[in-house]
Amino acid sequence: MSLPIDLTSLVFFATSALAVASAILVVSHRSLVYAAFFLDVLGTANAVFFALLGYPLVAVFQLTVYVGSAVTFILFSVVMFKDVPEPPVPLKEFAAVTIALIAAALLVTFHSFSGIFPQTQAVEMEELTRLVVDKYWFALLLSILSMATTLIEAITLARREV
């Protein structure tokens, strides 16, 4: 992306704020429907990050496959569960503190990356196609097989009839 430098920072910080806010809402919002909706927002914010880092293809893929199908699937199925009570879990505060400490430790650990600027030029489509077809073809085959397996499971679960 060839945004001016100031604009890149501005978009980055605005998107970060949006991403973190929606992440908090995902775990804390009372309604499951809203939690799923904010996951949608988060996925979109992530796509903006990918575009900023110079991965337009991944950004589009994230929007169509992940946000467009997976998260939407969660959102629609959640409508079925809207009256499900959520009982409280003990030791919540303990978990929160532990995980905050883990996050802080990670942030300190990876501080050595603070001087590095991302290489934001996009990967050539042609190069990518060659890489997938020539080098990673077996991984691609296995992924296609996984998709076929998901279809088999759709049949299975439909046939299970509860």
Partner: protein
Amino acid sequence: MPTVYWYLSVSFVLAAIGLYGLVAKRNLIRMLISVELVFNGALLALLSFSSTSAASKPTGVVLALLAISLAAAEVGVVVSIAILMFRVKRSLDVFELTESRG
């Protein structure tokens, strides 16, 4: 211009919030959504790390595309199972049966 560390920071915060949701909630769908938070954080970390050099960027793209399809397939399977479980049990509480079984 934000450095790689800034992107990493956001990704770790997202993953940490997701982990909190995974351990502090007991509703299946809420836990799944939290896992997806972790996944989004991980994906952002993957792409930030691989953008540190131009040489590793294509690898990052391939891994990210595979990871997104992985997540989509897993979400599909787990949500389908959850729907079926809800039809049988009328509940999404994954700890309930455990306790009664002792």
